[in-house]
């Protein structure tokens, strides 16, 4: 088969299209989450997605639609726990995350019979992505672009120092809610790309890759999106050619890009340290 024939398949086109949009979503949101030390919120919400999928399978409803409200409510729950119960972010994420996975295991155990379906959600199957999911990812990406465009300065201010942002009259609670709700929707969508187990990789790795060499906040978001999209496109292609699981391949390509950027950044820093410093 000619290599280019690969891209003539409808399921590959859908996978590349939806994968690219979801990667852009994850990478842009991941930049804010990583810098605010909330990286593991993706992991936590992915675990809640597991519970949501189990509920969907139990009631024989499409798991995606059942998982969305459950994960969104959990995301807001994490914010409430941080704010009202004065918990650290990682502790709040840990509570909600373990609750989600425990609920999923309990439902799967009681209902029985849908272990194989649940397994496919754990490890993702981007090649089976539907047109509805493609359009949902495009729509969500559009929403995120609007939010970032309109609230770029507020997002930068909150990410830099939330307390100072509040003293500038910025409604940090509102921005935080929007951010976690978008993250919740993105995590549910990303479950189809890399699976519940690997969602956090799509959120974290492109952002930390960009942080190795980006100069400026806007540039970090752009580079993060670029590496996220590149890893999904390369990952899907490599996985199809070498007959490997797509989700795991995407994550490994992501990691390879991180290693490359990390090495380049270290080499650049070493070269710079050999030159006389120009900072006071």
């Amino acid at each position: 088969m000619d290599f280019l024939d690969l891209f003539s398949h409808g399921f590959i086109q859908r996978a590349l299209l939806a994968g690219s949009f979801i990667a852009a979503l994850c990478s842009a949101l991941g930049t804010f989450l990583v810098l605010r030390r909330l990286s593991l919120i993706g992991d936590g919400l992915a675990h809640v997605t597991f519970g949501g999928v189990a509920v969907g399978l139990l009631f024989q409803a499409y798991p995606f639609y059942v998982a969305v409200p459950i994960v969104a409510a959990s995301a807001l729950g994490i914010l409430k726990l941080i704010d009202k119960a004065r918990l650290y972010g990682d502790a709040a994420i840990g509570i909600v995350s373990s609750l989600g996975i425990a609920g999923g295991i309990l439902i799967a155990s009681v209902a029985g019979g849908f272990n194989i379906d649940l397994f496919s959600y754990l490890f993702g199957n981007i090649l089976a992505i539907s047109y509805a999911e493609v359009w949902t990812s495009v729509l969500l990406c559009l929403c995120l672009i609007i939010v970032i465009t309109l609230s770029y300065q507020e997002l930068l201010a909150i990410t830099f120092d939330e307390e100072s942002a509040r003293t500038s009259g910025i409604r940090t609670d509102r921005i935080n809610r929007i951010l976690v709700l978008l993250t919740a929707l993105t995590v549910v969508l990303a479950m189809r790309v890399v699976g519940i187990m690997l969602v956090s990789a799509l959120l974290i790795i492109p952002a930390v890759t960009a942080l190795q060499f980006a100069r400026g906040f806007r540039a970090t978001i752009m580079i993060s999106c670029f590496t996220g999209i590149l890893s999904v496109l390369a990952g899907i292609t490599i996985s199809f050619v070498l007959d490997l699981p797509a989700g795991a391949t995407i994550v490994l390509v992501n990691f390879a890009l991180f290693l490359l950027s990390f090495t380049c950044a270290r080499l650049r820093a070493r070269n710079a340290s050999r030159r006389p410093s120009d900072t006071a």
């Binding site: 465009t149 120092d161 100072s164 003293t167 960009a210 906040f217 540039a219 900072t279």
Partner: protein, 253 residues
């Protein structure tokens, strides 16, 4: 002449987890005053500032900013704030110096808050003032502690605030930087009639610059001028005669 009250607190108290952090703080600050807040570690200095800024809700009492209750206060462009913990932000934060300084202009803008080309003048002016123009394109994490502090001071000053609140702003500055910083503050205080509230541990130095001192130890111990502080028998009882003499004599004006 009618003085403008910038900050008023009335019987302000704050408890956290059942522990009294601040109790019954009442004072008024007029336009153009320079208040130094001093006191030992854990005396509630930062808590007081957070209460003034509405970042904490008082258990009892009220705060008025520019004549408005802090709950309903919305004129944030009038206030510049420099928080205490410079180390609290991520040292690898990828924003440039110019991006950080520009954040100080957001308080005066409505949705969607954008830093316009016309804001360039204010940014350039404050950067020149604090001698950070040459590092405008550097990442904040690439700077020394003193440079980072100057960037954050620029962020607090860029909008030309009427009230500047500073929480231990000189800790990362060398003596020369500290001197220049106080000169900057005095200029702001004298020329623009800016009101300043500054937390510090160095009573002697702040005594040279501030028009009033507020000594805090979970309650208000002293509120008045530096000369009164030196003559106060309450303060003699509190510090001991020798310590009070050292503070006042060493930095005698």
């Amino acid at each position: 002449m009618q003085m403008t009250r910038v900050v008023t607190t009335e019987n302000l108290s704050f408890r956290f987890n059942g522990v009294e952090i601040l109790s019954d703080i009442t004072f008024t600050l007029e336009k153009g005053e320079f208040l130094g807040i001093v006191g030992p570690n854990g005396s509630g200095k930062t808590t007081l500032i957070r209460l003034l800024l509405g970042l904490l809700k008082p258990t009892q009492g009220a705060v008025m900013l520019f004549g408005h209750n802090s709950d309903a206060f919305s004129q944030w462009r009038k206030i510049g704030y420099l928080p205490q913990k410079i180390a609290a932000f991520n040292p690898h934060f990828p924003a440039t110096v110019e991006e950080i300084v520009a954040l100080g202009l957001l308080a005066g803008k409505s949705f969607p808050r954008r830093v316009a080309r016309t804001d360039r003048g204010s940014i350039d002016e404050v950067m020149t003032f604090l001698d950070i123009t040459s590092i405008r394109n550097k990442l904040i994490g690439e700077l020394s502690g003193g440079q980072q502090q100057r960037v954050l001071i620029a962020k607090a000053l860029v909008a030309g605030p009427e009230l500047l609140i500073l929480d231990e702003p000189t800790t990362a500055l060398d003596p020369e930087g500290r001197e220049r910083f106080f000169t900057t503050l005095k200029g702001l205080n004298r020329d623009r009639k800016g009101t300043i509230i500054m937390i510090t541990h160095d009573i002697g130095t702040i005594g040279q610059h501030a028009s009033r001192l507020l000594y805090l130890d979970r309650r208000l111990i002293f509120f008045g001028g530096f000369d009164d502080f030196c003559l106060s028998t309450d303060m003699t009882d509190y510090f001991g005669e020798h310590s009070q003499h050292l503070i006042c004599h060493r930095h005698d004006k």
